[in-house]
């Protein structure tokens, strides 16, 4: 077995498509963990992960490497989820590491995702590489003793690669010394021989105490059909043996460690895991929700100080999921349950809608999590599902009757607030005095020439600018302007504060001015603010931070951002505070009756426009019915739009088919299939297929 000093626990921090999985594949091949030429993206086990090139579940691989000093080292590679919605899982994975490979595509440069995970690494007090020691004084220094970061430039074999410029950009963004940056190509294997020695030499071993009582960090868990829940754990202190009785610090529940082993990368039982090791334990439980990511486990009746950073799951986006065909409720219920076995972060409640019948209200970590969950329902469980428009947990403050209110104030109580998981819960018979909506703090990194377009988009989505700073590129100068970082505790805002005052950008303390100036520049095609047109790396990149309503992300924000920036923007966010919002309940009425599944809260100023768009779209999407249908939109109880659909009067096949009965039957069966997928919206039959269209924001 390996003593702690011969163990290195590290992860790879990278933007989605910068080659993280390929690098992981290469490292496994180099150390013989998997044979050369084994299937690509070895650690990405889900179909949706391979298709979209993202990692959703953390995976680990234990690699054995013989170093030049003649000793074997156990290198535990922890492959982390690659998307913003899963940043909590990322943070828990990072907590099991002492070092990180910071991987940046040499032709694309630093992306917001990388910056965000980098900040997470700091928050985890993850040991980054000592090279930070030599950098200029700024807030990062506070962490320098504990953090080890190994910067890597990937895809340096590509003709479009610009290693020098990207290294300079990394230097500006992360305060790394350009000469410490390793240039590799995961695809060709270039530079990888130097990487493993660097991992051993530049990342410190885990610092746990073998003599202390057992303390485990549970950083992921998944469900195995045959063995129940499999927990991925890092042994912080002590040792874990098969047969140990364990207890969870969060709940006190006790389990038995039925099997203990390492992932190499396939599960390989070892009977025990020593201090500093990363591996798996099978606790003999069925429900993955019992294994809470971030929890600390210890030996039963030997409690220890829990590791910091544990958070209960908090759903940020809700959606109603309904079977596309009304008689398939049982099928959907089974599919959601099976998928939930492997995704503890989804919350599920039964829900009934007048329009859609029986279904489920599910909570997700974010918009992408919802999308991935739906994709997995369809791909892995063949579920035919309708999702209502995603909604966020708005908080609604009720005015209440004056007497009652007075009483409350006398008793020092706050006003009553409702948290809406569904717009159907919006109070209709009570006066609402205020609505608060969840926000996110978004980081957008974009070449400067697209800055105006991004600002326009952010304003259109009710964003408030917090920060606007140059990240540098070929130029070594970095300038920044912090406009408002109140309520923002993240590292980047702190970094921006450090730079405030040395600003050389055109910004003022008034964000609106910056914004309109940049927007004007974009409008007129004025590229004077852009230092060069030779390529994005040659021009400065700008880091923008916004407070945006979470609800605005649940729609088409990503695709709009992509098209506004020709794909050059990178985007990430973290949870922000609630803020008051001027919102109105927009409802769709069919023959005078509100359709519960289609109601939503919209900005009051947009209600009329959105109402008209919704009724018009409804009209074009729907087949006519056997009776006249009046479609109306109501905003805050007032009718703002109306469309009338005339009754269908003719649907007859009066053709001579001769004896070809089966052809005619097939046509009617096809029509029947459409009918079976109709959902009743206030007595109006709506094909399931058009639902996603109706529900678009």
């Amino acid at each position: 077995m390996f003593p702690p000093e011969r163990i290195r626990n590290f992860c790879i921090i990278a933007h989605i498509d910068h080659g993280k999985s390929t690098l992981a594949d290469r490292l496994m091949q180099l150390t013989g963990a998997v044979p050369a030429g084994s299937r690509p993206q070895y650690l990405d086990k889900l179909q949706v992960e391979r298709e979209r090139g993202i990692t959703i579940k953390a995976q680990t691989a234990s690699l054995v490497y013989r170093h030049a000093d003649g000793h074997d080292y156990l290198l535990n590679l922890i492959d982390t989820p690659g998307h913003v919605d899963f940043s909590y899982e990322v943070s828990r994975s990072l907590a099991a590491c002492q070092g990180a490979l910071l991987l940046v595509d040499a032709s694309q440069g630093v992306q917001a995702q990388t910056v965000a995970n980098f900040y997470l690494a700091f928050e985890q007090e993850l040991a980054l590489l000592p090279l930070l020691n030599k950098t200029v004084a700024n807030f990062y220094l506070a962490f320098e003793q504990e953090l080890a970061l190994l910067p890597l430039l990937n895809k340096v074999d590509l003709p479009s690669a610009d290693p020098a410029a990207v290294a300079a950009q990394m230097a500006a963004t992360f305060d790394v010394v350009p000469s410490d940056v390793l240039a590799v190509s995961a695809k060709t294997g270039l530079g990888l021989r130097e990487l493993l020695p660097a991992v051993v030499e530049r990342i410190p071993p885990p610092a746990g105490q073998p003599s202390q009582p057992l303390r485990l960090l549970l950083f992921d868990a998944f469900h195995d059909e045959y063995r129940g829940v499999v927990c991925l754990v890092a042994v912080v202190d002590g040792r874990l043996r098969a047969g140990d009785k364990l207890a969870a610090a969060s709940s006190g529940s006790e389990y038995e460690a039925l099997e203990v082993g390492i992932l190499a990368p396939e599960p390989h039982p070892t009977g025990e895991l020593l201090t500093g090791q990363v591996g798996y334990v099978i606790p003999g439980i069925k429900d993955v929700k019992a294994a809470r990511v971030g929890d600390t486990w210890h030996l039963a009746r030997q409690p220890v100080e829990p590791l910091p950073g544990f958070k209960p799951i908090k759903p940020m986006v809700f959606a109603g999921l309904y079977p596309a065909s009304a008689d398939d409720y049982e099928g959907l219920a089974a599919a959601i349950e099976r998928l939930g076995l492997n995704d503890a972060s989804v919350t599920v409640k039964k829900e009934t809608s007048d329009a859609l019948g029986a279904g489920f209200r599910c909570g997700f970590l974010g918009p992408l999590h919802l999308e991935v969950f739906l994709t997995r329902l369809q791909q892995e469980h063949s579920a035919d599902v309708i999702s209502t428009a995603p909604t966020v947990p708005y908080e609604v403050e009720l005015a209440g009757d004056p007497q009652h209110q007075q009483q409350q104030q006398q008793q020092g109580k706050e006003k009553q607030r409702l948290v809406l998981e569904s717009v159907a819960e919006y109070p209709r018979n009570q006066k609402v005095s205020a609505i608060y909506e969840p926000t996110v703090l978004a980081t957008i990194i974009v070449p400067q020439q697209y800055c105006g377009a991004v600002m326009k988009l952010a304003v259109a989505r009710r964003g408030t600018q917090l920060d606007y700073s140059f990240m540098g590129g070929s130029s070594s100068s970095s300038s920044s302007s912090s406009i408002d970082s109140a309520g923002n505790s993240s590292a980047s805002a702190a970094a921006a504060d450090e730079h405030a005052g040395s600003s050389s950008s055109s910004s003022t303390q008034d964000g609106v001015d910056v914004l309109s100036a940049a927007a004007e520049a974009a409008d007129t095609g004025d590229s004077s603010s852009s230092s060069s047109s030779a390529g994005f790396l040659a021009s400065d990149r700008v880091l923008l931070r916004y407070q945006l309503p979470l609800a605005e992300l649940a729609g088409d924000f990503y695709s709009k951002l992509k098209s506004a920036t020709q794909g050059y923007a990178s985007f990430d966010y973290e949870e922000g505070p609630l803020r008051p919002a001027d919102l109105t309940l927009l409802e769709l009425l069919v023959n005078g009756k509100a359709v519960d599944a289609l109601g939503r809260l919209v900005p009051t100023g947009d209600a009329v426009r959105l109402g008209r768009a919704l009724t018009a779209r409804m009209r074009t999407l729907l087949d006519r019915q056997q009776y006249e249908v009046v479609i109306q939109a109501s905003a805050g109880g007032r009718i703002v739009a109306r469309e009338t659909m005339k009754a269908l009067r003719k649907d007859v096949t009066a053709k001579c088919y001769g004896g070809d009965v089966s052809r005619k039957r097939k046509l009617l069966q096809k029509q029947k299939e459409g009918k079976k997928r109709l959902r009743q919206l206030g007595g109006l039959s709506v094909p399931a297929e058009v639902f996603p269209e109706l529900l678009k924001p």
């Binding site: 056997q626 009067r649 009066a654 053709k655 089966s662 029947k672 009918k675």
Partner: protein, 475 residues
Amino acid sequence: MACSQTASGFRCFTALRSRRGLTSVARAAAGPTAAYVHLPFCKRKCFYCDFPVEAVGLNTEKPRTQDRMQAYVDLVCAEVKATRSLTDAPLTTVSFGGGTPSLVPPQLLESILSALQQQFGIAAGAEVSIEADPGTFDLQRLLQYKALGVTRVSMGVQSFQEDLLKACGRSHSLADVYAAIEAVTATGLPSWSLDLISGLPGLSLQGWQHSLQQAVAAGPDHISVYDLQVEEGTPFARWFSGEGSPLPKEPEAVAMFEAASATLTAAGYEHYEISNYAKPGHRSKHNQVYWQCQPYYAFGLGAASYTRGRRFSRPRGMQEYEAWVKRFVQGGAGCPAAELPVESKEEQLLDVIMLSLRLSDGLALQQLQQQYGQETVAALLPTIQGFLQQGLMQVLPCDAEDVQQAGDAIVPGLSGSSGTVEVDADAAYMQLCDRLQRGKDVSVRLTDPAGFLLSNDVISELFAQLDSRTLSKAV
């Protein structure tokens, strides 16, 4: 019996009772006594046509064309002779369809008829019908057909407007139409039918009324009114798919359907199927074989047969059909598509619902209950009740004597003119349920014209009530 539709619906039901006494399953299991023969030749292909046809040009007397027809008829005869007879009973209906069967010379028709006679026998008094287009026959040819045993001609007039005949690519003129009517009348056949097409591009309601009046004036025993369907792959589909199409809009198309129903019913024709009207005693026997789910042989290019519980369509390409016949003859099995699965009971149920509801005789619910179980009918009833209330369906008493005994001679759902449709509908529905409970015959039909006009919507809605669970219980 307030309205004439009711009276005629009644009469025709009793005429059909003997056949309906058999269950549809028993009918399908009995051997076929009907045969369809496809004769695909046309002078030219009409712009709306998606049937398997072979255009041979305006001069059909060319030796090459005559040779093609001879070769094809030989092929069909070979198929007939290779087909095993499944019953001792002789054919009671033979139908020649196309294409334009009247392009085929009488001696070729004779060779097919004698092949059928030899293989299956043709009953005395059998209905032998042939489709004939104006401009392809004269009195002499019709007399030759008659001498061969043809009893019924179905004439594809389509329109009494010269410009519309041109617009849809017909090969005949209006003068040909009048000449053809004269010839067919002079032939003195037991029955003849005149076919019209509504919904043609540029057709106005006024023009349609004119065609209807001319059709009535021609005095046929039977009139078919087809509604133009723009089928994929036809010239019409290419020309008329976009905006600004000259095809009649929905309100006009509805008015045309209503006008046909009103005009022809008033002229003494019974609207006995969505697209068919007949003077009493002149319904098409052959087509009723299809609509009542009885079995039938079929021969020729693209022809669909229903034998031994299997629905099978022959290849639609001439070369593929030729190759198929060769294999069929060599195989010697005598029953086409024996390898296909038998039509399931579930498919039979859907066929019965679909075909019955296209008829004025409607869907016999009591029989349906006997064959497919109470669950099946119970699953349909709430939807049927809705259609009764909407005036798209009505209840038919199924047995005249029984009705008189029970004293419920008037079924309220039928007297739609009373103005209290909903009350009537509820009473009719209660009566329907009551009769089902007592095991008495009772049928529902689509109303004419409102129900017929929405038949696809209504039938597919009924299909949708039969989920897989109900169906599996029914089977």
